[in-house]
């Protein structure tokens, strides 16, 4: 039997493997339920964060973590470094409550953050260092976690939208597109600096995970103008690293545009037909998805989970390059029985045809 690290690597090369890997996007929301504590305990304490993540990995050794075993703080880290205000809540990742800029004129006042001093970046780096010092070797050897594996970052489009305020940014795309582009350039530079700062801890990056949901809620034309060029800059700067992209909006209209980023793996949402994703981009990009995370994975019976998993495998696994997953982050209180069912279905039914 292949080790998880071998199975995933072969999957990304579209090679034949023993069974379809299971790859889940698990965050504090899920882990808090898994251990029966409040989410804030996870986000405030790197020791608990590492402990809960590895406890889940030990419970489900066949599951690959989309975000790796690494610190994650939802979408708060980079926006706070650019000046957005955040708030800690008991049952949520830290949330952005006020954008950094109120008018497009303020874009030019923004400065590239210093990861050692700005916003939540120093806290995240400290946690990353803690993880690197304390992660048991078996997780590095069997999965490759923290071996040049970045913390999850926001895509430039999401970061720009949070920095400006989502509604205002969407209106800027029409009213002041040049300003939107200036902000996107600033956000892209920020992310490049942020990723390089992470290299000081885990070495040259081999794998970068990016979440960028809002770029899935725009047209092809807008994607090509306001998202693609900025993704490509990150792609070019870290040209040797794999890029794993998460976007669980309905990306049906922009699948081809996403493939042009040159991403290695794409974790997509439940509104996208996996068959359509496979036909459009599935021979170039490894697809990761997409049983409905709430209606089926959390609220469905094990039988329903099994049927949904089989349907995804049937539609998306032909020719390889496919990992089974929920179409989004795993919801709090998703039954462990349903996760076990997904793993079992992958092991018994998940063959590349």
């Amino acid at each position: 039997m292949m080790r998880p690290i071998e199975r995933v690597a072969a999957c990304l090369r579209f090679e034949t493997i023993d069974y379809v890997p299971v790859c889940l996007n698990t965050t504090g929301m899920f882990y808090a339920g898994f251990v029966g504590e409040k989410e804030i305990e996870y986000y405030r304490d790197p020791e608990k964060m590492l402990k809960w993540q590895t406890a889940f990995q030990k419970r489900f050794p066949a599951v690959e973590h989309f975000l790796g075993i690494a610190p994650e703080y939802g979408c708060a880290v980079e926006p706070t470094a650019l000046g957005c205000k955040h708030q800690w809540l008991e049952e949520s990742s830290p949330a952005i409550v006020e954008p950094a800029i109120k008018a497009t004129e303020d874009i030019d006042k923004l400065e590239i953050p210093d990861p050692l001093s700005d916003g939540l970046m120093p806290m995240a780096l400290k946690a990353y260092k803690y993880f690197d010092e304390h992660l048991e070797d078996e997780f590095r050897e069997n999965y490759g976690y923290l071996e040049g594996w970045s913390m999850n970052i926001l895509g430039p489009f999401d970061l720009a939208a949070l920095t400006r305020g989502i509604t205002n940014f969407m209106a800027d795309l029409y009213r002041n597109p040049e300003a939107a582009e200036r902000l996107l350039r600033m956000c892209t530079k920020t992310q490049i600096v942020w990723l390089h700062a992470q290299e000081d801890i885990v070495g040259k990056l081999k794998k970068i995970t990016i979440s960028d949901d809002l770029s899935g809620a725009i047209s092809k034309k807008f994607f090509d103008r306001f998202a693609l060029p900025y993704f490509l800059e990150i792609r070019k700067e870290f040209h040797e690293a794999q890029i794993w992209l998460h976007n669980d909006s309905n990306t049906t209209a922009v699948l081809e545009n996403i493939a042009r980023i040159g991403v290695n793996a794409f974790h997509f949402g439940p509104d996208v037909d996996p068959g359509v994703a496979k036909r459009n981009i599935g021979s170039r990009v490894c697809l990761v998805g997409n049983i409905p995370p709430l209606e089926v994975f959390k609220n469905g019976t094990p039988d329903e989970v099994e049927q949904a998993c089989k349907s995804c495998i049937d539609k998306a696994s032909r020719g390889g390059g496919y990992m089974l997953s929920a179409g989004g982050a795993v919801a709090r209180d998703t039954p462990l029985e349903n996760i076990a069912t997904m793993v079992r279905t992958a092991e018994t039914y998940g063959r590349y045809k």
Binding site: M29, I96, I166, M170, Y174, A217, L294, K298, R332
Partner: protein, 220 residues
């Protein structure tokens, strides 16, 4: 000379073309031509929003287009409001809306607010992280017809049930409309909501259905 019909069509077009400046100008022109504000809303702006909804469903329009259509509706409504008031016209309905306690997400809620405002509702936006007490107090204060609630997190959506129970305890005859990414129609029914909007456009449609008897009575 432009007919009523052509001006109303042009108003609809400004919404479809996502053009707040022209929406405002065309509404001003229509008022000068003597068209009633109510006719402008129902036969002009609302028709435009219908087309926006169709294009969104066909994936020709996306989130930025919804935001801009909402802006166009809002710009037109700003011009219309004093005229509606002068004629003694009541708003289509009063809506108290917010994202529930523990949840700070507001993109969907903000679009709904824009579109409800543009659709002729008087909207009281309570923002995010709204307690059940605040929902109840504001509902009483403004005699709201509808309470709208949004949640993005699985962990906060159950708060909606508690707000509904508080509204019932206070004997308020108000309709409740809910929406947000983790919600389903089935969940909305289960917690006792009167309506569920899968997206902003559907939320506005439902809001109109919920106050239908009073809309039918509107004449101004």
């Amino acid at each position: 000379m432009k007919t009523n019909k052509s001006i109303l069509d042009r108003i609809a077009e400004t919404i479809v073309n996502l053009d707040p400046d022209n929406a405002k100008k065309t509404v001003e022109e229509a008022l000068e031509a003597g068209i009633s504000p109510y006719e402008l809303v129902v036969k002009g702006m609302a028709k435009g929003m219908e087309v926006v909804g169709e294009r969104y469903a066909k994936m020709e329009y996306f989130l930025p287009e919804l935001v801009m259509a909402g802006e166009a509706m809002k710009a037109a409504m700003e011009v219309l409001k004093p005229h509606l008031r002068a004629r003694g016209a009541k708003p289509i309905g009063r809506v108290v809306i917010g994202t529930v306690k523990g949840d700070l997400h507001d993109i969907g809620k903000n679009i709904v607010v824009s579109m409800l405002t543009g659709g002729g509702f008087e909207v009281y936006d309570l923002g995010v992280d709204v307690t059940r007490e605040t929902f109840v107090e504001k509902t009483i204060e403004v005699s709201a017809d509808i309470v709208g609630m949004s949640a993005l997190l699985v962990t906060t959506m159950s708060e909606m049930r508690d707000v509904i129970q508080e509204l019932k305890k206070a004997n308020l005859k108000v309709r409740v409309l809910v929406g947000g990414r983790p919600l389903t129609e089935e969940y909305a029914n289960r917690i006792g909501a009167d309506g569920y909007g899968k997206d902003a456009l559907e939320a506005v449609k439902k809001a109109k259905e919920l106050i239908q008897p009073s809309v039918d009575r509107q004449e101004c």
